[in-house]
Subunit: 339 residues, 2 copies
DNA sequence: TTGTAAGCGTTATCAT
DNA sequence: ATGATAACGCTTACAA
């Protein structure tokens, strides 16, 4: 049976309130008393009861992480794990706990939303990998639940941390241009997801910067799955591109399959670049040139941002924070640069 | 400002207790009253305050998941993500929430342990991927915190769910024997981890069942990392095995590297089998024959077991549950069976 | 079946 | 600097 503040107080010869002050580092306690109380706490292994604390203080020291169920499966790469690692790192240093919720698409159905987010269980939440028009955003804003999104969002009230998808994609495509390619195709990600849109935008920007016309025939729409990469590539073949930028490594693997089936060699006949740098990328034949994002930084920055929001004056007048982390190009064999 | 039971009661013309009974599905409430109360709850969107509930009922409806920090990184495969998915699935159907903690090695240092586990925040915990002699187990047992381990443990009081590592390994090695191999080497996993030990045991069992002597020269100790696979393979080369069973796919990849560097072909010169069936496995050249474990089942079964422990009479006299899920062999190219 | 009232273990506001 | 004491929102005997 765990001890209570009252009992610790009795053992230390002080009142419940004094013990509370000591535990919470309140300054107005005589040094001698403070030491005596700590002594008892150490000896007894006293640990405050989280629920009681939370009830009285109206803060739980817990943040939630919300990820759409479907996406968690899709991520055959360690994105999910790395993100969580980044988040837990930040939580640990701030003394917060992390509650994980995989929401069903379309991210709530109201019922789940209420149960999870209105129960006072968490002080704030991190939302990752949702569609931008996910119904969860209006609700979070309306309930004024502090939250930070991992991924871009147009609403000016939304705090977010994102990877520079535009810049990363542009970097990849400019690399191909530098290698002499002009007929460069792309297989896009899901187009109502920010990352899908932005990587396509980066592709277009790179071409435009080099006065290469953007052609619809060279753009195949995918949805981040391997099979969509294969199908996208098959459709693009008729436009006979000399290079392809796939908006994810998984789709690049799909594209590779289609190219093989069409007896085209990579990179000799078609150069290929992906995005994400999943672990498989380096092990592929040929090793995949790709764009790497700092995933765990993404997690830790998002958590830091949220925790700051929670700890400091939540000035509602302040503009939302928008943090963009840059990506970098990892050159391997599939682009032909190393030949 | 969220409503309280009291206020809902006022709106429905009943007392706080009646509303509580309705919310908790207590039978002794007149149907008419129950309906009236639900009506108000629906209209107002009332949601019980988790902390208050937990304080009064001494149950939080939250379970914790504890994974050593180091391991979470090591898992470049989706083990972690799939396990969590299985766990959250079970949690959702039981109406529980999930709290995630990545513990620093050696899994607690006491301080963290207390903060996380003695604060009453969680009703029970799932522990995954620890060493069997992790100091967390004696503590959990002493504090009589309900817990289920993902992975085998010798202590008779420990409830666990595990994959049949022995059977899986044995299956893999017997497959090699069936293909005619007699000089079969193995690269082991970390040997104070249950999975490491058991896969080695399975290797030995298979050989013994076929009266093939187990030779120390054919056993290389690894630690589940790729580099240990490479080094292990290099050392084994002098014993010139015709086949190798690596206790993990990641180590198999390392071994593949060593074999290549020694100009040995797989499977022509040396057959290779791994364990885990990580996504890379199928994409390797040659595609890796390996043993697949039902990871998300592992997670959901462990969570189910824990939740049953929590919901039902926690009969301390009942023997601990030990659940073993079977693995299956996935035959691809690296073992030479398809030639 | 329903209401009253006593906790649950903190925090926070007052006095002192 | 310290101690009473009233919340915090809910569950749960116990009464009615």
């Amino acid at each position: 049976m765990p001890l209570t503040l009252e009992e610790v107080g009795k053992l230390a010869g002080v009142s419940r309130s004094t013990v509370s002050r000591v535990v919470n580092g309140h300054p107005s306690v005589r040094d001698e008393v403070r030491e005596r109380v700590w002594q008892v706490i150490r000896e007894t292994g006293y640990q405050p009861h989280a629920a009681a604390r939370s009830l009285a203080s109206r803060r739980s020291q817990v943040i939630g992480v919300i990820i759409p169920e479907a996406v968690s499966t899709l991520f055959v790469d360690p994105f999910f794990a790395l993100l969580l690692r980044g988040i837990t790192g930040a939580c640990n240093t701030h003394g917060y706990q992390l509650m994980l919720s995989l929401f069903d698409e379309p991210a709530d159905q109201g019922e789940t939303y209420r149960r999870i987010l209105r129960s006072g269980r968490m002080d704030g939440v991190l939302v990752a990998s949702t569609h931008m028009n996910d119904p969860i955003f209006p609700k979070l804003l309306q309930d004024s639940i502090p939250f930070v999104l991992v991924g871009r969002h147009p609403d000016p009230r939304v705090n977010y941390v994102d990877v520079d998808n535009v810049g990363g994609a542009r970097m990849a495509v400019e690399h191909l241009i530098r290698l002499g390619h002009r007929r460069i195709a792309t297989i896009t990600g899901t187009l109502n997801m920010a990352s899908g849109e932005d990587r396509l935008a980066g592709y277009c920007q790179a071409l435009e910067a080099h006065r290469i016309p953007v052609q619809a025939a060279l753009i195949g729409e995918g949805d981040f799955t391997k099979s969509s990469g294969t199908m996208g590539m098959q459709r693009l073949l008729s436009a006979s591109p000399t290079a392809v930028f796939a908006a994810s490594d998984v789709m690049a693997m799909g594209a590779l399959k289609a190219l093989r089936e069409a007896s085209l060699r990579v990179p000799e006949d078609v150069a290929l670049v992906g995005f994400d740098d999943i672990p498989v990328a380096a092990a592929l034949e040929p090793a995949l040139t790709t764009v790497r994002q700092p995933i765990d930084r993404l997690g830790s920055m998002a958590a830091d941002l949220l925790l700051n929001l929670l700890e400091n004056a939540p000035d509602a007048r302040a503009p939302a924070a928008r943090i963009i982390l840059s990506a970098r190009l990892i050159v391997r064999d599939s682009c032909g640069a190393l030949h």
